[in-house]
Symmetry: C2
Subunit: 407 residues, 2 copies
Amino acid sequence: MNKDSTIGINAVPGGALAPAGFLAGAAVCGVRNSGRKDLGLLYAEYPCVSAGVYTRNAFRGAPVEVTRAAVEAGGVRAVVANSGNANAATGERGVEDARRMQALAAEVLGVESREVAVASTGVIGERLPMEKVEAGIPAASAGLGQEGAGFAEAILTTDTVKKEAAVEVEVGGKKVTVGGTAKGSGMIHPNMGTMLAFVTTDAAVERDCLSETLKNATDHSFNRVTVDGDTSPSDMALLLANGAAGNEPLALDSPDYPAFAEAVEHVARELAKKIARDGEGATKLVEAVVEGARNEASAATLAKAVVGSNLVKAAVFGEDANWGRVVTAMGYSGAAFDPANLELHFGPVKVFAGGEPVPHDAAEANATLAGDTVEITARLGEGEASATAWGCDLTYKYVEINGSYRT
Amino acid sequence: MNKDSTIGINAVPGGALAPAGFLAGAAVCGVRNSGRKDLGLLYAEYPCVSAGVYTRNAFRGAPVEVTRAAVEAGGVRAVVANSGNANAATGERGVEDARRMQALAAEVLGVESREVAVASTGVIGERLPMEKVEAGIPAASAGLGQEGAGFAEAILTTDTVKKEAAVEVEVGGKKVTVGGTAKGSGMIHPNMGTMLAFVTTDAAVERDCLSETLKNATDHSFNRVTVDGDTSPSDMALLLANGAAGNEPLALDSPDYPAFAEAVEHVARELAKKIARDGEGATKLVEAVVEGARNEASAATLAKAVVGSNLVKAAVFGEDANWGRVVTAMGYSGAAFDPANLELHFGPVKVFAGGEPVPHDAAEANATLAGDTVEITARLGEGEASATAWGCDLTYKYVEINGSYRT
């Protein structure tokens, strides 16, 4: 589903606040000890239909449990999020703290607790400093508005840039907007890394349809990103639909559903790529494309193995088109394919085909790694399925960041 | 099987040449362009029973295929190995080159081609410079002797130290020696990294018994090591038994078989730990012990996830007892366990129990990471099974080595 142009999807500014009827605010509450905004509120002016996907880590942060229960109970229309502390591996006390965050946010926003999602990222295994959070929630609420850019900042941890995307698309004769903001830089791996994504839309959407839309979009975006292979206990992606666009509620069989689904996937994919590009210490976005596979699952496994390989990542950092590491990663991925049919390209330079190296100018191949976006394409010649995965290079800075994160 | 002392296993010097009847030699043939020894021969003076285990990467280097065929054909009694070029992803020409290496070594040693194993490690995807190899084989043969320390050097690539271990044990009233030498530093991961291990013994052993012994020993040693999660196309471990000790050939049901098996496992484990400690750029050996598991497979999965986590590895480098990353790695490992029963220790310091942090002195916990060996122990409280896995820290030097390997 890369044919955005044929559907008529237009990029617009504004991130998660681009759709009508969403407000946000943020505050410096001091959980991060950085003087930076670290507590944010996102709020829909109308009741929402909502959907969520969550980390598959056996350790789930308390906020993930609390949010999952809220989404299951019905329509989440607000998010309270903090950075600096993940409130994960914190036991029963952690769950109590997450519920308290939820209740306080509900109170200042004038909604029910079960309408509020809670998200926390940062250090694992330390209790949330609740007095700071308790002061931060009303402060963030006081600044609630349509600008609300502070929200996209407040959820960041080791991220260096805020991550936003939004598009417009026509659905049922109405202009519908889908927007989103995300965070994620380290502990990022398919099946949700330490990442949060909040996607909003003013479309009216039926609940089952919304869940399916988010699940599919996540499979093609956030679950195709890896920074370091570590899957966090705190991940979640939420999709809130407030219906302000006034369209007939979308179902899976609505004629314009594909356009809406593609809009959501587009936003999710843009956010995912921004996460990979801003991977801890990263200097380059790596895009691995696997084509000609028997099925999408094996294409995705192969693409993720390539962007997940430390050796590939280090070679990209060194701008060394060491394609042997790419075929090696594909070889241990576990996906079945015949190496004899493989064609491998760095950018436009073919380096391997028919089971052996293709003579090429090494300098030309290395030059394909010189920019800030690197494309590695593998053609399997076995079928019609394809998949893309995104990652980043492995750098000195990654080691520095993670060798001294808590100190 | 850690009770070496009760079986009466004694460490001895000499590595793979410690058992009676093994010789080795090495030469500078110039594949590596480093002026270092890069071609080695290992040779048993008597016919051998042999066993091998090989990489599971879908791309297998030509030498792996040639060696596997030799081991399957019968008794391999010699090894020809080069470093600097893996002869992998080199197509049919690569297989011809590996066979030519095998034939040349057989000729200078006066044995059959099918008695010679071939092993190559180094850059993937480039043809072996055969004229250098052809000159190196007779040169290595000329120096064949019981010293032969050059062999352990000649197989190294980015390794910084040679890796040898040997033990003596009594079997059937005879003193039996088991020795070995290995290489491996980067592209190291369970299911065989880019590692070679050549284990020798003067014990007489039946063929099926020898295969089973090597397989079990590998499962508890080389398959429990990770440096960077990349499984190489070139791995192999071989076990050659020349019978010079004069014992009755060992079978799986021989009374002294457990002592022999433990001796082999001991040597394999020592080599595996040396590989992990000498991981590319490593400053520390990390030993993850999982106890109280329902079964050994899940204990091993959990232990390998801990030593495999980039974030754990970076934290160890930074001497930061960031146990949240350890529980996170266990959580995404895929092995089933109940976090509520988990007890986690850094050295002697308990940091997590009953689903939440255990108050402790952070400086004391960090101090457990200050030495060159770091022990992390997880007690699951669910059964009697245990497993240990070995890895190393992730450092600036790893990035440097792998960002500029070919240049």
